[in-house]
Symmetry: C2
Subunit: 334 residues, 2 copies
């Protein structure tokens, strides 16, 4: 489907669900970006879910988002159960402002929802020549080390920095072996998932996506990954005043209340301590790219590079849409 | 050996090597703490190395450490090739001051050296009721994803927060499958290392510690761990004005110049966004501890809990000292 047509449809759908025009545009942009970078699990496959939650009054289409200034550097945002995209968009813009003013910015968000890709917001900060660290929690998917029950979300750790070239350095990694969204996407499309990334509800390894959704996802590096997930839950949940300790609701399955996800955005200037940051990071990347490669490896890439290339490649092309999403769009736009 | 006796010997050794009394005490405290928490790879096994580097004028025993105020929140420290313990001690104290004043503190250190355990400094901030994030780079040990050559250090990610109880929550995790110090410790004591954590110089898996030191350590979770290591190199090396991209010298093997390691300390108040942080984190930990456990697991512990218990247990006991370290002490104190 042509991008402009898709945008028109998405904005129409969100406006029909009560979002203001500017908020509808923010949501549409984020979903199209996810499709273009190949993060389908954060793209159109979630559209129906967002609309369902709006209709059930679990996402507030017309939120009164309150921004509180804690200091010149620090702000707190109560998103009033807005759709996550809108809360995150306001938050990263405020974090950018704060860092531009004082060198460092920190913005906490509570009463928010799933906002798609952390890297999408990191890009905004990097485009303004800032370094950024972004944390968000998510519904239970990963068992804490030592436990047999899911509690942590796939809780991504995101770090972005200008790279000295036009392709930003954006690390956006979940602490699970695989993103939950990818499992959902596989389940929806009857595809298998790799071995070693999840257990079924009986604790047995499985490559069946539907069984994995009912079971437990495995964290990276056992206690290390579990600790990192716990850190993200504290930074984005405990600290911000949001749900934490497994209380973030699954947006697809749990309609008993709003998600109340929390986010934390930290931003700072690149030239706080050195004058030639761009030259330094450029040299850093250059040295690493020139290292001897493993067999079969064509190029050593930095985090975000592949995603950027997919975005550029796809931004002029039609967006491929699965039959399931096509049906969603047809029903939702009516 | 009795702790007081050990402290007397260590301070004597450091003073003999030209350190001022207060700096000698800082170093002694850090080394004893590492022994007490069971982090032997960061303890007395490094003493001879520090002294060697001081004698070779690669560590400056009497540094002129310059602290520059960038803003009320942000400071930069040129450690003038001091021993890492001293630079880190000054830096975390300044980061604490800055956060107490403005809510958030950030301190970058350049021209420093190996400082032992990040968690040791995190504890200082947590004791002052702050949350902290600490990054430092290290000599090449881990190959970037796609490469066959070591370049990243084991680059720890450290996060500390008050826990609502007397045992602080301190995550201090290297991004390698195993700490390099543990491999060194095993090599020095002719012990084996676990399988699957390192390759020898020919790219073959090995559990021989000496061969592993000549080879490559494996990052956690392949591209994810590699990305996190890269992030730490940027935050602690590129940003601070320190060595990066594999240029941090190995303190044991490379006497061609100072290490010029970089550190980054971020600190912030717990009550920026919520009034009841202590109650919230306490609840978070309580819920997770009550989860059903895997077979054979007695208790779900949070990061730092085991280390704290070892410290308490060992703080009243004699410190066990290996024959090799005993010999080091005897020679160095003369």
């Amino acid at each position: 489907m042509n991008i402009n047509n898709l945008e028109t449809i998405l904005i129409k759908i969100f406006k029909k669900n009560g979002l203001k025009a500017d908020h509808a545009k923010i949501c549409s942009d984020a979903l199209i970006n996810a499709e273009q970078v190949g993060a389908y699990a954060h793209g159109l496959s979630r559209l129906k879910m967002y609309c369902d939650r709006i209709r059930k009054k679990l996402i507030n289409p017309n939120p009164k988002i309150r921004i509180k200034k804690i200091s010149q550097s620090i702000s707190s945002i109560d998103a009033n159960n807005s759709i996550g995209f809108v809360a995150a968009d306001i938050a990263i813009k405020r974090a950018i402002q704060n860092a531009k003013k004082t060198g460092i910015g920190m913005v906490a968000v509570k009463n928010s929802g799933h906002y798609g890709l952390s890297g999408y917001y990191a890009e905004q900060a990097v485009k303004k020549n800032l370094i950024t660290m972004i944390y968000t929690n998510a519904p239970p998917a990963v068992a804490p080390f030592g436990s047999s029950k899911s509690l942590f979300g796939t809780n991504p750790i995101c770090f972005g920095t200008p790279s000295g070239s036009k392709i930003p350095f954006i690390l956006d990694t979940s602490i699970s072996m695989i993103n939950r969204g990818l499992i959902r996407f596989a389940a929806r499309n009857n595809k298998k998932i790799p071995k070693g990334v999840a257990l079924d509800k009986f604790g047995n390894p499985t490559s069946n996506a539907k069984k994995a959704l009912q079971g437990v996802q495995l964290p990276i590096a056992s206690f290390r990954g579990s600790g990192l997930a716990w850190m993200v839950d504290i930074l984005s949940g405990v600290l911000t005043g949001s749900n934490h300790a497994g209380k973030v609701k699954d947006p697809f399955d749990d309609f008993s209340g709003p998600q109340n996800i929390g986010h934390l955005f930290i931003t700072f200037k690149t030239n706080l301590f050195v004058k030639n940051y761009k030259a330094r990071i450029k040299e850093n990347i250059k040295i690493i790219k020139k290292l001897p490669k493993n067999k079969g490896v064509k190029e050593i890439v930095y985090p975000g590079e592949n995603k950027y290339k997919r975005l550029k490649m796809n931004s002029k092309k039609e967006i491929k849409i699965s039959q399931i999403v096509k049906k969603d769009l047809e029903i939702l736009v009516k």
